[in-house]
């Protein structure tokens, strides 16, 4: 009692009407709580419910069909194709953009004056609208009119049309994905590198860790471990969410070679109007994203304390 009255502003009395401090605290946090329910929890719940029905967009009726949508999904080769493509895309984009950003960050960290310039250059793709930039990329990677095409023809090589060939199209999308993600990761790594003070670098130089690889192994990498986990998980989520480039450049084609999960959800739900089935896909998507986050929390809590 004594300690609590110490905390109170002098002259203020305990509120009358039986309202405890806990009740007041709950009242104050209620708006945030309600907002969270309304915008996050409720929609997820609704999606979960719709995924158990045969609801089609625009209809007024729906039937409860249990796990029918999920059974259909497991039998759908296009679902597995989309999942596989998303996985390949993620497996290419994440390691390259994470490791590339790490190397760039280490290199940039030792620059004094040009650092700002490079930061801006690498961060520009993050700020640009991917939809608009996709058009530029489609020109750059075009097999007939782009600079890549003229380079190939100058070298006497056969033209390489990225978005006409199935495998190449996926690689083309991955290149754009890396280009878009690397700047973001770079900034996160540069922020993480500020942990390594100037004196720490000097101490390591004195102790003989002055080569690039030695410093990376003994100092930079271990100290960046927490950052790396965050960057890795964020990159996975980002890569799994790829949508703009697919929608603008390939529309999932050619022949479903670049169909990704999020794009398929969109097509099935809003073009095919199969909201029930789309919701089932969304549930799977949410589970995957949630799993990434859980990995981050689990590994992040186990990380070395310093």
């Amino acid at each position: 009692m004594n300690s609590r009255s110490d905390l109170e502003i002098p002259g203020q009395v305990t509120p009358k009407g039986g309202l405890s401090h806990a009740a007041i605290a709950q009242a104050f946090s209620a708006p945030a709580f309600i907002l969270l329910i309304a915008t996050v929890v409720a929609p997820v719940f609704v999606v979960l419910l719709i995924s158990l029905t045969d609801y089609r967009l625009g209809r007024l009726t729906l039937n409860f069909i249990g796990l029918g949508n999920y059974a259909r999904m497991l039998a759908d080769p296009f679902f597995w194709g989309a999942l596989r493509n998303s996985a390949i895309y993620t497996a290419v984009v994440v390691p390259v953009s994470v490791f590339g950003a790490l190397c760039l960050a280490v290199l940039l960290d030792s620059r004094r004056r040009s650092r700002r310039f490079y930061e801006i250059v690498y961060f520009l793709p993050v700020t640009s609208t991917l939809t608009a930039m996709s058009i530029v990329w489609s020109y750059l990677l075009n097999g007939h009119i782009g600079p890549l095409a003229s380079l190939f023809s100058t070298l006497g090589l056969p033209p390489l049309d990225f978005f006409a060939d199935g495998t190449l199209a996926l690689i083309g999308l991955a290149i754009i994905g890396i280009w878009h993600l690397i700047g973001f990761n770079l900034i996160l790594f540069l922020a993480g590198l500020t942990v390594i003070s100037g004196e720490l670098k000097e101490a390591s130089a004195l102790d003989g860790m002055d080569g690039f690889w030695d410093r990376l192994r003994y100092l930079t990498w271990p100290l960046l471990a927490p950052t790396t986990i965050v960057v890795f998980v964020l990159s996975c989520i980002q890569a799994f969410q790829v949508f703009d480039t697919v929608a603008v450049l390939t529309n999932g084609g050619p022949y479903g070679a670049t169909e990704m999960l999020l794009h398929k959800i969109n097509t099935d739900t809003f073009t095919g109007l199969k909201a029930g089935y789309g919701s089932a896909l969304t549930v799977v998507y949410l589970i995957l994203i949630g799993a990434f986050s859980l990995v981050q929390v689990a590994v992040g809590n186990r990380k070395a304390h310093f």
Binding site: E199, E202, H305
Partner: protein, 438 residues
């Protein structure tokens, strides 16, 4: 206290400074120093800093530093914040290239060498321990880096090669032998974050010691600790220096620390070394008014003085002492608080009204109003017994008659440089000459 050690040193250092004359080029001087060394004993780790300059863009941080540090010496760089102490240390360690000049350790020019090849260890102000490594790993890593090749350090190398195992065992034993006297044995498996400030400081010392460096650099290593711990670690560092006999270069802005620990102190100001001498010498014979102000626990008393035909007057009160041979003009007269004595009889230089009396146990501080002699507050320090004697039958707020102790007045000219004419007796002069001749 180590102060007594360097008694005959200052003249020697001065001699070396004159030897490293101002009109020769750096290269000539360097070879001259080298030749001089060849005559002396060889395997030493003394340091010669010759005409060292450092510029960052347009700001000149270090201006023509010349300094000789003897093998096994404890030298302190003392100066206010921003005067370039850390920069000088970082040039010595090789973290920054010199703009011009060179640094010799032993008889080797280390300027082109990277930090790890200079056989130097350093304790940083923030300790700079590797936060992700245990205390043991912190101390092991410098040895691993110097004794094992890149391949031998790869994970699993110890499993494949008996040689690597033997080296690692040796390293472990060495780390433990360094950790023991520092009291780190129980802490070896902790991370730096789990240590107190004093323990971290010891680990930093331990990490620096394992390599048995030729030179030990410390950049304000005690400034992050509380007063009591600082006192204790100060003694430990002095002990460490005595035990190892390594050349120590210690940076601090705390004059008490510098006075208590060093063989010699180099006082820096604005990127220059103002004076380099034993603590006693710095305290008693500061070359510059700024040095006199910086050194000493209680501020030195400054009084504007007028000299006419050898007689000195403070605001028209003529003093007893005479300064024959000193050009007429205005000077600053400075006296340490403990060298102002209460005067009995008629031999007082001046008498001043007492403003405040402060008793601190082992001494009594008296603050007088110095307006009558044209200066600010004049501080006097007395032993308690002489104060009691003085106090008998009197009250505070009265006047106190003061006399400047013989040989205690320091005279500085308008530029703040001490003028060498001393108000000394002939016998004293002779003694000084003898000392110079040593």
């Amino acid at each position: 206290m180590a102060a007594g050690v360097g008694h005959g040193v200052a003249p020697l250092a001065a001699a070396r400074r004159t030897f490293v004359g101002a009109d020769r080029t750096g290269r000539q001087r360097r070879s001259a120093v080298l030749a001089n060394k060849a005559e002396a004993d060889m395997a030493d780790h003394s340091i010669d800093i010759i005409d060292l300059e450092k510029r960052f863009d347009r700001t000149q941080v270090l201006k023509r530093i010349n300094l000789h540090i003897r093998d096994g010496e404890f030298l302190t760089l003392l100066g206010p914040s921003g005067c370039g102490k850390s920069t000088l240390l970082r040039l010595l360690a090789g973290f920054e290239p010199c703009t011009s000049g060179c640094i010799l350790i032993g008889d080797r020019d280390v300027s082109p060498l990277p930090p790890k090849a200079r056989n130097i260890a350093m304790v940083f102000q923030s300790y700079a321990l590797y936060p992700h490594m245990s205390v043991r790993a912190n101390m092991t890593v410098p040895l691993e880096m110097s004794r094992l090749s890149f391949r031998q350090r790869l994970p699993g190398a110890a499993l494949l090669s008996a040689k690597v195992r033997a080296i690692r065992k040796e390293i472990t034993a060495e780390v433990e032998s360094v950790a023991k006297p520092l009291g780190l044995e129980a802490l070896l498996d902790r991370k730096p974050a789990q240590l107190s400030g004093g323990q971290r400081q010891r680990v930093a010392v331990g990490r620096a010691m394992v390599r048995h460096p030729a030179v030990f650099l410390m950049d304000e290593p005690l400034s992050n600790l509380d007063a009591k711990l600082r006192q204790q670690l100060r003694e430990e560092i002095v002990d460490l220096h005595r035990r190892t006999g390594i050349t120590f270069i210690y940076v601090t802005h705390d004059q008490t620390e510098a006075m208590a620990m060093s063989d010699r102190i180099a006082v820096m100001e604005g990127g220059e070394i103002r004076q380099c001498a034993a603590p006693q010498e710095i305290y008693d014979r500061p070359d510059y008014l700024s040095v006199a102000r910086f050194v000493g626990a209680t501020a030195i008393n400054e009084m504007p003085a007028l000299v006419r035909r050898g007689s000195v007057s403070l605001n028209r009160q003529v003093l007893e002492m005479t300064l024959p041979g000193l050009a007429d003009g205005e000077y600053q007269l400075a006296v340490r608080p403990e060298r102002l004595h209460p005067a009995e009889g008629g031999n007082a230089d001046f008498s001043l009204p007492v403003e405040q009396v402060e008793f601190t146990g082992n001494e009594v501080g008296i603050r007088c109003n110095g307006a009558e002699i044209g200066s600010g507050a004049i501080r006097v320090q007395l032993r308690p017994e002489s104060f009691r004697q003085l106090r008998q039958g009197r009250h505070a707020g009265e006047r106190i008659a003061l006399r400047i102790a013989e040989d205690a007045a320091l005279i500085f000219d308008a530029s703040g440089r001490r003028v060498s004419v001393l108000p000394t007796q002939p016998a004293q002069l002779q003694e000084d000459r003898l000392e110079l001749a040593v």
